[in-house]
């Protein structure tokens, strides 16, 4: 399964599943990162430690570890 972390820069994907629970899941959802949302990868920090994505019109930074928990498919 492909995760958000595997995506290249400028890649557009659709979220299939959030493999997490509790607070982090709620946090991601409150940022609009939820099942069915379309996401574009904008930038990687060195060593993919942090990535910048775009959900709707919002730009969000998240850590590679968190991106790894998000299953996506290419659109």
């Amino acid at each position: 399964m492909k995760t958000l972390l595997d995506c290249h820069k400028a890649c557009k994907v659709k979220i299939l599943k959030l493999n997490t629970s509790g607070d982090l899941k709620q946090r991601l959802i409150s940022f609009g990162i939820m099942k069915g949302a379309e996401v574009e990868v904008l930038e990687h920090a060195p060593a993919k430690s942090t990535i910048e994505i775009k959900v709707g019109k919002m730009r969000i930074a998240l850590r590679g570890e968190e991106a790894k928990l998000i299953d996506v498919e290419k659109i």
Binding site: F31, T50, A61
Partner: protein
């Protein structure tokens, strides 16, 4: 309309309490500033407002109290600041909610709006940043939106003040009209379950202030407070199985095992629907926005961090270079001022108190106002443009290695201005451990009040073209020491799992000149006010302690010596020796001498020791104390009449280095220590901090002193 009823009770009728709610960084504080004449702190990143603030103003017949609440994405209680908002909205008494919405990102903002609609409170929506939306080709049909969701929607712009009057009128009108039900429609399957629960509540004539529909929604969403309320009711026994069944249906429908996620999807599709109905956007080509273009440079994987370091270097270079231009004039002014005032005072003691105590002490602090202003402008730009979040993005990987959170960067940078707001802004960190860790190392980020000490010493020991670099070096090494300290604390005191990092990156904005001016002016006035009150008082105290007790025998013995000698040079030297001897036997001298052995390994004389101890109250006092001590006694000749000259003449270089190291590390000031204790939550943390910083300062200064001794 029941205005007649409302007017029957004039005191309440004329008072409207408004809760201002919205997602982070939508311009809530700025809106308050436009509505009233308040000067709340405004910045372009999430987490500027971390505590609720009340602002009062009058409009027509009404007294308004507006409560500015910290921004929150949804009612999730993720961080302390979000909890503040949620608790206020649920438990406090207020009349109406103004939900501030970013017009350029309507769908996302509606997420909070739709949650607010289930609260059974009167709501008015302020579609903020409408000027920016128009520029981006976004047009929102506010009337249609109001009709669709059943609450008034007013287009406003906090920046241009457009629509502000209409917003207040709408709030007044809404206040005068009875509550109506907002229209929030879910998918058919959820509506069915809601209807079932409503029917059940209705059948049992359940008593509640909230509508049955909202209770049903809150139950399905798993709202803890609603559960707690119903749990003790007799109908709970029958309600529970219905509820479980309903939840199962919804989860099944959404192909999920998480009811909260299902509801988030419900809200999202409602919001998508509203946005699709009311939003008209000119078809734009798929071109990069300005923000994305800037980002491709500023957060470039390779150049991002060097660019950031360059900006920081530039800031400190400017702080020193430009800040030092008016310094001579300020110095000259205070010397002239002291002499002029001194000439009018006949009494020797009072003259010395005013000239050598108050004017020398306050003058030494005011001297650095230009440097402070430049530093504050730099920080205001960092906060106002949106660059701050980018740096957090860039540094998270690096910070993470030291056990810190990328978002720790925001309080840490704030710490370069002043530690007090920095301690407060640590609330944006979710986890208590992360927050405590950040609180502990904020002090390592040298605050504005320490700048004068650095400028003083850098200017005293280095050529002007190097001093800016030295200044930058001091700040960077302070920050690096902070990171090392974080690592040490993380593997010893604050062990534990790392918290996730999810953060919004705001759009770049050019802060208006007025905004920067206000921010810098407010902070500079605070600095000056402190110089005029606290520092002046401390200078008087230091003066008193360094002048008393008078030892008449000592004075007499010197005076006879001076009288008997004919040599003019010797006379002057004896005069200096007298003041030096007097100073040493004063109260302050006694304290200094007493603590001197402790500081001898660091190469400090008793004056430096005293200045450091006085600096526990506030860092400006270090400079004013040195100012008083060197103005009073010592062999200051004409050429080095300034404090800078006196320092380069009297303090050996290795001792100066050790002195700077101590200033960098030890406790910021009394006021900051109080705020630290409050934010950390327990007095014991203050003692930990005191012990930790003191030991670290001592050890590092000892190393610095001995290394410099070897090198020089």
């Amino acid at each position: 309309m029941n205005t007649v009823d409302a007017k029957a009770c004039p005191i309440i009728a004329n008072h409207i309490k408004v809760a201002l709610v919205g997602q982070p960084n939508v311009g809530k504080s700025m809106l308050i500033n436009s509505v009233s004449n308040a000067h709340l702190h405004v910045g372009n990143f999430s987490g500027v407002t971390v505590d609720k603030t009340e602002v009062l103003f009058d409009y027509k017949d009404y007294h308004f109290t507006v409560v500015d609440l910290p921004g929150t994405y949804a009612f999730t209680d993720y961080t302390i600041e979000e909890r503040v908002t949620h608790e206020y909205l649920c438990a406090e008494d207020y009349d109406i909610i103004i939900n501030v919405v970013d017009s350029t990102n309507l769908e996302k903002n509606l997420q909070l709006t739709s949650e607010l609609l289930t609260m059974s409170k009167k709501v008015v929506i302020a579609l903020n940043m409408s000027d920016e939306a128009t520029k981006e080709g976004i047009n929102i049909n506010a009337e249609y939106m109001a009709e669709l969701i059943g609450v008034p929607c007013i287009k406003v712009s906090a920046a241009t003040k457009e629509g502000i009057a209409e917003l207040i009128e709408a709030v007044m009108l809404k206040h005068e009209t009875p509550k109506n039900k907002p229209k929030l429609v879910f998918s058919e399957s959820v509506e069915e379950e809601i209807a079932q629960l409503v029917w059940y509540l209705d059948k049992h004539k359940f008593k509640s202030t909230n509508s049955y529909r909202n209770i049903a929604i809150n139950l399905l969403k798993g709202n803890k407070k609603t559960y707690a309320k119903l749990h003790d009711e007799p109908i709970w026994v029958e309600l529970q199985p219905i509820l479980i069944e309903a939840s199962k249906h919804i989860e099944l429908h959404h192909d999920s095992d998480d009811i909260k996620e299902s509801f988030a999807e419900e809200y999202a599709s409602f919001n998508r629907g509203i946005a699709a109905e009311v939003l008209k956007q000119k078809k734009q080509e798929e071109k990069k926005t300005l923000t994305e273009k800037i980002d491709s440079v500023l957060i470039h994987p390779l150049f991002g961090i060097p660019i950031f370091l360059f900006f920081m270097w530039l800031l400190f270079q400017l702080t020193f270079e430009i800040g030092n231009i008016p310094m001579d004039y300020i110095d000259m002014f205070f010397t002239w001022f002291g002499n002029t005032i001194g000439a009018t005072i006949a009494n020797d003691d009072i003259r010395s108190l005013i000239v050598d105590g108050v004017i020398a002490g306050v003058g030494a602090v005011v001297l650095f106002v230009p440097n402070i202003i430049i530093l504050f402008i730099g920080i205001a730009l960092l906060e106002g443009t949106g660059y701050m979040s980018r740096v957090a993005f860039l540094l998270d990987g690096f910070f993470h290695k030291f056990g810190l959170h990328g978002q720790s960067f925001i309080p840490l940078v704030t710490g370069f201005g002043c530690s007090i707001p920095a301690y407060m802004s640590a609330r944006i960190l979710k986890n208590d451990r992360d927050r405590l860790l950040t609180l502990f190392i904020i002090g390592f980020m040298s605050c504005g009040a320490r700048l004068p000490v650095y400028v003083l010493f850098a200017g005293a020991f280095f050529a002007p073209d190097m001093a800016g670099n030295i200044l930058f070096g001091i700040y960077v090494s302070g920050a690096l020491l902070g990171l090392v300290a974080a690592k040490v604390l993380k593997i010893t005191a604050f062990k534990g799992k790392d918290e996730p990092f999810v953060m919004e990156m705001p759009k770049y904005r050019l802060p208006t000149f007025k905004l920067i001016w206000h921010t810098v002016l407010t902070k500079t006035m605070m600095y000056l006010k402190k110089a005029g009150t606290f520092i002046a008082g401390a200078s008087m105290l230091i003066w008193f302690l360094s002048n008393y007790p008078h030892n008449s025998e000592l004075i007499k013995s010197y005076e006879t010596k001076i009288e008997t000698t004919q040599d003019k040079a010797l006379k002057v030297r004896l005069g200096h020796q007298l003041s030096e001897a007097e100073l040493e036997q004063s109260y302050l001298g006694t304290i200094g001498k007493f603590s001197e052995p402790l500081f001898t390994p660091l190469g400090f004389d008793w004056k430096m020791s005293v200045a450091l101890q006085a600096g526990l109250a506030a860092k400006e006092v270090v400079v004013s104390t040195l100012g008083v001590l060197y103005a009073l006694g010592s062999d200051v000749d004409q050429e080095s009449s300034s404090l800078m000259g006196a320092i380069s003449k009297n303090i050996p270089f290795p001792s100066a280095v050790a002195f700077i190291v101590v200033i960098m590390i030890y406790l910021p000031c009394l006021a900051a220590s109080i705020v630290f204790t409050r934010e950390a939550g327990h007095i014991k943390y203050f003692f930990y901090l005191f012990a930790f910083t003191s030991v670290a300062a001592y050890v590092m200064a000892f190393i610095a002193y001995n290394v410099t001794l070897l090198l020089v």
